[in-house]
Amino acid sequence: MSTRAAPLEALRTKRVIVCVGSGGVGKTTVAATLALKAAAEGRKAIVLTIDPARRLANALGLATLGNVETRVEDEWLRRAGIEPRGELWAMMLDLKRSWDDFIHRTVPADRAEAILKNRFYQTLSSALAGSQEYIAMEKLYELSARGDWDLLVLDTPPTAHALDFLDAPNRVLDFLDNEAARAILGPALAAGRMGLKLFNLGGNYVAKTLSKFTGGETLQELAAFMLEIQGTYDVFKDRAAKVKQLLGSDEAAFVLVTSAQAFTIDEAIYFHQMLKQERMAVAAVVANRVHRDFLGELPNPTTAELADGLARSGIPDAGAPPLSSRLEKTVLEARAMATLDAKHLARLAAACRPTPQLQVPRFETDVYDLPGLWTMSQHLFPGA
């Protein structure tokens, strides 16, 4: 199999594809395109998106309700010129709700309610770096275990940093590890609920000093959280290990999405290294919104050549500056941008070798509908 064909092969054979990359590079669009292509190829594919553009969500038939799988009607696909041999499904992930559901499944009902109200839980489920990534992967695992789809494509949350994603399970486990809390809160925690009621920071020097900053109530709340969550650490750890196993297995592959800008390319290279280090398979690097050189192999035109062409076509060379010189400026600017992109993308390809690099040009408008996704897929998989 040539490396060029490898990404398509992944779409045909893998059960899980995870799209990763910096924010603002078009991860959601790429994820939806991959699922669409797999569905066109005959698979039952679902794209799990997080906070898609409203127009894209509409195009996929996604209502505002989170965590509900929705089938994209074949009729819509046909109208967009796509003959689906399989099925396309979509789901908008509600990460907060996924966390709450997860707690409900993991913890007895009486304790779950107390946990959901706790401020430390709220940090865990929304603000903690990595927690969104963790629950997205957890949800992916849950859906994959259900076995209802041939292929799941996950669009991950916008990540400020590659490590937020890869290190996510560890960060969550770190948070839940109550060894630290026990050391500080000590006897109160050991004494259980009764102890908590009588909790005071009396003789504990460290806790006393800390409470000067945080207020005693914060530490009380921490103690309560740790108490309720006790015993779930192993459940989380077990699940995190299973998720990691799935992502590292032959059934899964990553697709790294990037733009051609210098900073996002640096981040993509770093991300690729980290994935390789974790022995994760990377099916492709997708460079999105690459500037086109409209001239292709042609040399730079002169204003005179363009003016001459306009005259022959009967188009007035009017305006200030004249049309011919505005055309020259525009086509040369595009070439300069394309040259710059090509330079950055060559660096990316060299750093990620032998992972194949697929390029999608910058379209005239951004992609928000099924025909747009289909056009993107034809750029990703030309001739397939």
Partner: protein, 303 residues
């Protein structure tokens, strides 16, 4: 009131819209008017020094251009500085904050990492060393969480060190004479929607004063509709055909720029300043930042 007369400019927006470019350019423009400027990047990869072609500064304040200093603010170092300020004695700090267990869970205390980072930044605002502090804030969602911390603490925390810090911090943030929040956006669907939500959050829940909306990578209208229509067919020679295609793409982007600029203006009622798409220059080089700085300086008028 000019942006440059404020003491604190917070630049925020969706990831990848060019917040760092705007922060670096604003800093240069202010320094060009004789201001002493400090740029704070919040818990991210260092970019300002790279953009300005200077050596990396890390978490220690360093010079990145004439009149411009920069620093990366991270929770751990900010926590140490904050802890020392509060505890006064290094030994006590070590015993408590560097306690193996405490240091592990300090970052989990709701709002504490944000509080210490914001505290460090606002501490610099109060220092006489700088006339202007420019903050390259975290991306949208995190940005609001970040700026809301003092308010959240005032609502939830009983009297103590954290609360009294929250009080003076909040006072600086909501004072329109001191602070303005700039929104950075792109002429694209998602960034524009997020900018509108963010702008409403700034005026609403944050009760802060919005400054400018910067529309980055804006395309100028270069061709008339009639010209685009006339060019919309196969043309000879091939180089003219290629140029016509390039013009078509340019015009489409210019149309989007107009549409999204109007949408931002209407939804936010704020001045929207275009930062033109700088073709033919590496977007992340000093010449590009100088060009944007000159543009911002012109837009604000002569001092």
């Amino acid at each position: 009131m000019s942006l440059f007369d404020r003491r604190l400019l917070v630049n925020t927006g969706k990831g990848g819209v060019g917040k760092s470019t705007v922060s670096a350019a604003l800093a240069l423009a202010a320094a060009g008017r004789g201001k002493r400027v400090l740029v704070c990047e919040v818990n991210t990869h260092e970019r300002i020094s790279v953009l300005l072609g200077a050596r990396a500064v890390g978490t220690e304040i360093g010079r990145v251009a004439d009149g411009v200093d920069a620093v990366v603010v991270r929770p751990q170092e900010a926590m140490r500085q904050y802890g020392l300020m509060q505890l006064r004695y290094r030994a006590v700090y070590k015993a408590v904050f560097e306690n193996r267990f405490v240091s592990r869970f300090l970052r989990f205390i709701p709002s504490l990492p944000e509080l210490v980072m914001l505290g460090k930044i606002l501490h610099h605002v109060r220092e006489a060393k700088w006339d202007l502090v420019v903050v390259d804030a975290p991306a949208t969602g995190h940005g609001v969480t970040f700026l809301r911390v003092p308010q959240v603490l005032l609502d939830t925390v009983p009297p103590g060190a954290m609360r009294s810090d929250a009080e003076w911090m909040n006072a600086l943030l909501v004072d329109p004479q001191v602070t303005a929040v700039n929104l950075v956006s792109l002429p694209e669907e998602l960034p524009v929607n997020e900018t509108i939500e963010l702008g409403n959050a700034v005026k609403g829940t944050l009760r802060m004063h919005p400054g400018h909306v910067f529309l980055n990578r804006a395309y100028e209208r270069r061709f008339t509709d009639a010209e685009i229509e006339a060019l919309d067919r196969t043309l000879e020679p091939p180089c003219l055909d290629a140029a016509a295609n390039a013009a078509h793409a340019q015009a489409a982007r210019a149309g989007l720029t107009d549409r999204y600029r109007a949408k931002l203006r209407e939804a936010l009622g704020l001045p929207v300043l275009d930062i033109p798409f700088l073709a033919a220059t590496d977007e992340f080089g000093r010449p590009a930042i100088d060009a944007v700085a000159a543009l911002l300086s012109r837009a604000e008028g002569r001092p």
